[in-house]
Amino acid sequence: MDITLRVNGTTRSGSPEARKTLADFLRDDLNLTGTHLGCEHGVCGACTVILDGRAVRSCLMLAVQAAGSEVTTIEGLATDAGLGPLQQAMWDSHSFQCGFCTPGFVMQATAFLSAHPDADEQEIREALSGNICRCTGYQSIIDGVLLAARRNTEHASER
């Protein structure tokens, strides 16, 4: 089926089979391999992307269902000017070990912080509860997202 969608601000087209998931379409057809596939049945959260402003698991929807939508993947966050604020906060907090789960965590946290810029630790833990890290690095991931939220709040109070 022919589809057209926006990915990271660019119009992209393709002809995926109906059974192809959005995750496979992004990786195989658009060569955006930053979106990782862990379990491929909606348990691990590694393939999380932002679809029309909300975090979704790209292995749990068909590519053809994303026709006409706006998709943001991990490749869409950093600019030529450098890392985004959440990425920087996670970098500063050593939020990565092997890095496999990182794109999913970053996309989930990006969607969550844009809706809840001043979230507290408990809210962040709940928001990230659907993402699995097998290096057991959860604490530093939470620390990174919390640091991004604190910087958001400081920015807001400076204004």
Binding site: M1, E17, A18, R19, K20, T21, D24, E40, H41, G42, V43, G45, T48, L51, R54, A55, V56, R57, C59, L60, M61, L62, V64, Q65, Q108, A111, F112, R125, E126, A127, S129, G130
Partner: protein
């Protein structure tokens, strides 16, 4: 795990969807939010010949109120229901259960109708529908029929929807004055399926329980009403002793399944604890709403 070969149809109206179901019947699966169906396809537990994707059927989404019932279109996404002021105000038990469904990214796609048509007995929404005696509107070529919740859930992942019918709407009765509700569950981790869950609703009138509703998730192959406990509660004043008695009656004779998350006996103990907690919380917020 890639999905099996499958044909794909994307109807734009209920009529088109129903025609496709009539044509394909048992060979078709209806694709709503896909948060249960896509994993079933990936694991080859479901291998339909055709997917009928109803995401483009706009008339199936929305929340409205009529004649004391809150009507929720089957394709209404869980996060939309979670943010609905109508649901928060009129169906507080549903509002309490929604944030417990899966994780945030699941609720971005998952739908009210999808969860209730999938009918996982450990899920939150089936217990809520059963507790409140929700009504299920299904559409087929010969028209519409309304199925009460007591007749909807037939077994593990089985409902009374016929293969050529589409679940189009679910209706929940609006809570009256003096109604307090609570959804309780024990899960290994926030967002996981409940080991046991409980939907509880109490309506107080002059300090006396006029209506009590309790339904369990996770103790059988369907959501289960605790009718014995409801009888014990009716006509009484809320008290810790009464809630203890209700917990005993609710768990008398139940035989929950055992799996690696918990033995049958453990589930039974959780069930009793949830009845006490749920009734206490429901009674407290019933006082607030009076």
């Amino acid at each position: 795990m890639k999905l099996p070969q499958v044909d794909y149809e994307a109807p734009r109206t209920v009529e088109e969807a129903v025609d496709l179901l009539a044509e394909h019947g048992d060979d078709a699966s209806v694709l709503a939010g896909g948060q249960s169906l896509i994993p079933l396809l990936a694991l080859r537990l479901a291998q339909p010949a055709v997917l009928i994707d109803i995401n483009g059927v706009d008339e199936l989404s929305g929340v409205s109120v009529a004649d004391g019932w809150v009507r929720i279109g089957a394709m209404t996404r869980e996060y939309v229901a979670e943010e609905s002021g109508t649901i928060a105000g009129s169906v507080p038990l549903l509002a309490a259960a929604l944030p417990l469904i899966g994780h945030e990214a699941i609720r971005s796609r998952g739908t009210i109708g999808g969860s209730l048509a999938h009918a996982d007995p450990a899920a939150e929404l089936p217990a809520v529908a059963r507790a409140l005696d929700a009504e299920f509107v299904v559409r087929g070529r010969s028209g519409e029929r309304v199925v009460p919740a007591a007749e909807w859930f037939e077994g593990y992942l089985m409902t009374s929807r016929a293969p050529d019918e589409l679940l189009s709407e679910v209706r929940f009765p609006a809570a009256g004055p003096g109604t307090g509700t609570s959804f309780q569950e024990v899960a290994r981790r926030h967002g996981d399926f409940a080991i046991v869950g409980l939907a509880a609703s109490l309506t107080l009138s002059d300090g006396v329980i006029a209506d009590a509703r309790l339904a369990f998730a996770g103790i059988s192959d369907v959501p289960v009403r605790a009718a014995g406990a409801e009888d014990v509660l009716a006509g009484e004043r809320p008290s810790a002793g009464l809630f203890d008695e209700a917990a005993r009656r609710a768990t008398d004779g139940i035989d929950p399944p055992a799996d690696l998350h918990g033995s049958s006996e453990y589930r039974k103990k959780i069930a009793a604890a949830l009845v006490r907690r749920g009734l206490r919380a429901a009674a407290d917020n019933a006082d607030e709403r009076q």
